[in-house]
């Protein structure tokens, strides 16, 4: 009995050593022998199956549209892109092993991972790899900290709360605000806290703050309190799935108090995909979503992206798809600015120092990067009515 236990332990030790070796040793043998100099391998990691598949697939599809466009117009610095997206199912452990797999495959640069939890562990694993990474959508404040070569396209969470408060202050001034958030979810709590801090500075007070837990199924008590508070803006920094439950109950549930005609349900990027979640599109009426990307913007770049995306995948791109598209284009910009024409020369540190001097206007707005990887950019809000979204105020 004891012997088998020791054997298993030894086997697993050897196994884990091998696993470490494959990602650790890549620092030294950075000579990418798996492909030619005129080819550029870009890797991405994210959930393309499972509960968060909608986010992963959006990023993947957005990136693929960009890759196709760039390859048709001569590639990046003369190099042809090959793009590979590895499935992580949203699991940080699986994301790290997917990262190892991509290194073995010959990845030159990366668009990182889709979710924040994955990004934190992959960034940790890649800290010594000289691998340049620009994540499309990992928004948690701390997830880029472990590496100097990690950047992002999307907002970071604390900035989103501030941007949301500024948006309310500028575009919906003087309206009464209440909050409904999930008290056992990092994203929701983080967004609420930065929103609240900024609102305090702006002199906006809340009528009521209601919370719920992941395990809750009945929001009647909270809905009654929110409706009674007389708020015209309900800030809901939550994910689309919980938001759909909340909205359906708010509009057809057992709650006695009802919201006024012009009550806005105001949320951030977590609400992306809400239309695919609600059972009746009318339930999402008056949902206002803060986003750097508006699918029906009149901007030429956006129009081109939306029409190509629709032709390829038969659906309208969401914010995550737009982030994925921009991530590939930012890679192109930064590699060309650094002057690389052969993939074996690429150094992550050089790209990182280049990107901070870059300014790029993509489909998600104008971006400049700080050394910590963050980017501040403007945002608009989309309002939903009978299943269709349009830019608020236009």
């Amino acid at each position: 009995m004891k012997k088998t236990a020791i054997l298993i332990l030894a086997a697993s030790l050897i196994f884990s050593l091998c696993a470490c070796g494959s990602s650790g040793s890549s620092t030294e043998n950075n000579a990418k022998t798996t492909h030619g100099d005129k080819e550029l391998y870009i890797g991405g990691i994210g959930p393309t199956t499972g509960a968060y598949a909608n986010y992963g697939l959006s990023v993947q599809h957005g990136a693929e549209v960009a890759v196709k466009e760039i390859n048709e117009t001569g590639g990046i610095g003369g190099m042809t892109i090959t793009f590979s997206m590895q499935d992580s199912q949203g699991d940080p452990e699986a994301a790290v092993s997917a990262y190892g797999k991509l290194l073995d495959w010959g990845m030159d640069v990366s668009i990182g991972t889709v979710l924040s939890g994955e990004m934190a562990s992959v960034v940790n694993a890649s800290a010594n790899d000289d691998m340049f990474m620009i994540t499309a959508s990992a928004s948690a404040d701390a997830c880029l900290e472990a590496s100097k070569n990690a950047f992002r396209i999307c907002f970071y969470d604390s900035y989103q709360g501030i941007a949301a408060a500024d948006y309310v202050n500028q575009n919906l001034p003087g309206k009464a605000v209440s909050v409904f958030y999930q008290s056992d979810n990092d994203y929701s709590v983080g967004l609420y806290e930065s929103f609240e801090a900024r609102c305090k500075e702006l002199g906006i007070t809340f009528k009521t703050v209601q919370t719920f837990l992941k395990s809750d199924t009945d929001y009647t008590a909270q809905i009654n309190a929110l409706a009674d508070s007389g708020a015209e803006i309900i800030f809901i920094p939550i994910y689309a799935e919980e938001a759909s439950t909340f909205l359906t109950q708010a509009k057809n549930g057992t709650a006695d108090a009802i919201f006024g005609e012009n009550t806005y349900f105001f949320g951030a990027d977590g609400l992306d995909g809400i239309m695919g979640k609600v059972s009746d599109p009318k339930d999402a009426n008056n949902v206002l979503m803060l986003t750097p990307f508006a699918e029906n913007s009149t901007d030429e770049k956006v129009k081109n992206f939306v029409s190509k995306y629709q032709a390829a995948y038969g659906s309208t791109p969401d914010q995550f798809a737009a982030d994925g598209y921009d991530a590939i284009y930012v890679l192109k910009e930064v590699i060309e600015k650094a002057g690389y024409t052969a993939s074996s020369q690429i150094s992550g540190a050089k790209l990182s120092s280049t990107i901070t001097t870059l300014s790029y206007k993509g489909v998600t707005g104008e971006m400049k990067w700080k050394e910590n990887g963050n980017t501040d950019k403007g945002c608009t809000a989309i309002i939903y009515k009978d299943g269709a979204g349009s830019v608020f105020g236009e």
């Binding site: 499972g50 719920f212 009647t220 309190a225 549930g253 006695d256 108090a257």
Partner: protein
């Protein structure tokens, strides 16, 4: 006053769903003397059956509910035969662990077949509400309460008056002696599971119509709450399960409305602890003298 009345009604609504689930829990425990932790997941399967019956097969509402009841009963009997029957002589801890295993098996099965995305339960009909003292009472609340009460009374009559009910009480009282009297213990427990699972299917219909969205994990939390309700009212007692469920719903909603949404679960379970200290066998549970 409005807040009080409104909380009372939303509490009754939530409580009637808990009560409906608790009835099945309590009945199986009372007769088979085991905690069927898979009960909540049978509700989830029942809800998915309802969705498939209406959305893909285009069954009319009543047929869809009957299909769901049939599928759940068969599933309950299958689980009893395959998982619990072989463990009849095993210690109760083994049965408990098996029940948890069955629960996870059902959840993962649903994950495999239906995926992790939530599905919307179809509307099976409109139940117009009415207004009392300026507060809206949902038609569903009244219907759920009525159905729960009817089922509770029906089941109590069945257990107390019918031949099968007599056999069930005998098995519950003393399994060995019942067997000696010529009662087939296995058959009695099998039928208990069939009825318990049919109740789960009824509960799934009401859960689906009230809360709309169904996921593979849908059954677990209401299952735990309903189990709590059954213990609260005195596990094994059917009127107790109904009383416990309704009280649990009321306490939860009042705690949310008057104290804190964050603390509502802690308050619910705190009250449960207090009740169990004063009445260890629950509100309506039978006191059982330990024979030495």
């Amino acid at each position: 006053m409005t807040i009080f009345l409104r909380t009372l009604i939303s509490g009754l609504n939530l409580g009637s769903i808990y009560a409906l689930i608790a009835l099945g829990y309590s009945m199986v425990y009372g007769i088979a003397k085991m905690l069927n932790f898979a009960h909540g997941d049978i509700i989830m399967i029942g809800a998915y059956t309802g969705i498939v019956a209406v959305m893909t097969m285009n069954f009319p509402p009543l047929i869809a509910i009957l299909t769901s009841i049939l599928v759940c009963s068969l599933l309950g009997m299958l689980i009893e035969t395959l998982a619990y029957k072989p463990l009849r002589q095993a210690p109760s801890l083994s049965v408990l662990i098996t029940a948890i295993g069955v629960s996870y098996l059902l959840q993962n099965l649903a994950l495999l077949i239906f995926g992790s995305e939530q599905k919307a339960y179809p509307t099976l009909g409109a139940f117009p509400g009415f207004t009392v003292l300026g507060v809206k009472v949902d038609g569903m609340t009244v219907l759920t309460l009525t159905v729960t009460a009817v089922i509770m009374i029906g089941l109590t009559l069945f257990i107390n008056l019918s031949r099968m009910g007599k056999a069930m009480r005998a098995v519950s009282e003393d399994r060995g002696a019942a067997e000696l009297m010529g009662i087939s213990v296995n058959r009695t427990i099998l039928i208990t599971f069939a009825i318990g699972s049919a109740l789960a299917a009824v509960a799934s219909t009401f859960y689906g119509m009230t809360y709309v969205y169904i996921k593979p994990t849908t059954g677990s939390m209401p299952g735990i709450k309903a189990f709590t309700a059954a213990v609260f009212g005195g596990i094994g007692s059917l009127p107790g399960a109904m009383l416990g469920g309704i009280l649990l719903g009321l306490i939860e909603q009042f705690a949310k409305a008057y104290i804190s949404t964050l603390w509502s679960d802690a308050i619910v379970f705190g009250v449960l602890v207090l009740v169990l200290i004063v009445r260890p066998s629950g509100l309506l549970g039978k006191k059982r003298a330990e024979k030495v």
